[in-house]
């Protein structure tokens, strides 16, 4: 079982994800070769152009981006222990999570979750439960940067 959780400065790009994953020394694709993996799921969270504005009765207001603040090292540890718990509960072959810290512009990626398992049901259930728990328990805050 491969578990990786990485916090990356700024928006997530294919390059920044690959670099951070390489630095971890772990490769989730290695779980593919033995034929036990039947499903992989990759989820990307992207910054949308508007957010409900708290001072305008929740009406959407235009954004430049979001500013992600992490409480370190608790955020990093929290992502990793959550990933491990979800992997064990759903019997995953691998789980890799990347999360941004700092400014991420509209249309850019701030969160990526990549899961592999024997069957699709586990990948879908694990994705939903990981994201729900992350938003509840991992000390990462987003603040709007209004346009």
């Amino acid at each position: 079982m491969i578990v990786v959780a990485i916090i990356v400065e700024g928006a997530l790009t294919p390059e920044s994800q690959a670099r951070a994953l390489a630095a971890s020394g772990l490769d989730p694709r290695s779980t593919r070769s033995d034929g036990a993996v039947g499903a992989t799921l990759r989820f990307e969270g992207i910054v949308r152009r508007d957010e409900p504005h708290p001072e305008q009765r929740g009406e959407p207001r235009a954004l430049l981006g979001l500013e992600y603040q992490t409480y370190d090292p608790m955020a990093q540890r929290g992502l990793e222990s959550l990933a491990r718990a979800v992997a064990e509960r759903h019997g995953l072959a691998s789980i890799v999570v990347w999360h941004s810290r700092g400014r991420v512009g509209v249309g850019e990626v701030s969160f990526v979750l990549e899961i592999s398992a024997a069957h699709r049901a586990e990948t879908l259930a694990a994705t939903a439960s990981f994201i729900d728990a992350m938003k509840r328990d991992v000390p990462i805050w987003k603040s709007p940067v209004w346009a």
């Binding site: 603040q69 938003k135 990462i140 805050w141 603040s143």
Partner: protein, 81 residues
């Protein structure tokens, strides 16, 4: 004693600071600190609904004792991802 509680995100923006000092009577628990934040920082009331406290970088239960020198952080209104 007076303890500093680290605050983050929208709560920090509203309070215009990243730490809120609160006075609590010793011996104090996590519950006492959360009650003291509400009383002494009305501007943070919006962030206290469902909020928890981390003590030394771990989520703590309401009965956890708080000692001088502990690192306290208000874990409220999360929303990573």
């Amino acid at each position: 004693m007076t303890v500093d509680v680290l605050i983050f995100g929208p709560a920090a923006a509203a309070a215009n600071t990243d730490r809120a000092p609160v006075s609590v009577r010793e011996p104090a628990t996590v519950r006492d600190v959360l009650t003291a934040i509400a009383a002494q920082h009305p501007g943070l009331a919006f962030a206290l609904d469902g909020a928890r406290l981390a003590v030394n970088q771990s989520l703590a239960s309401p009965d956890t004792p708080v000692q001088p020198g502990d690192e306290l952080a208000l874990i409220s209104l999360l929303g990573g991802g």
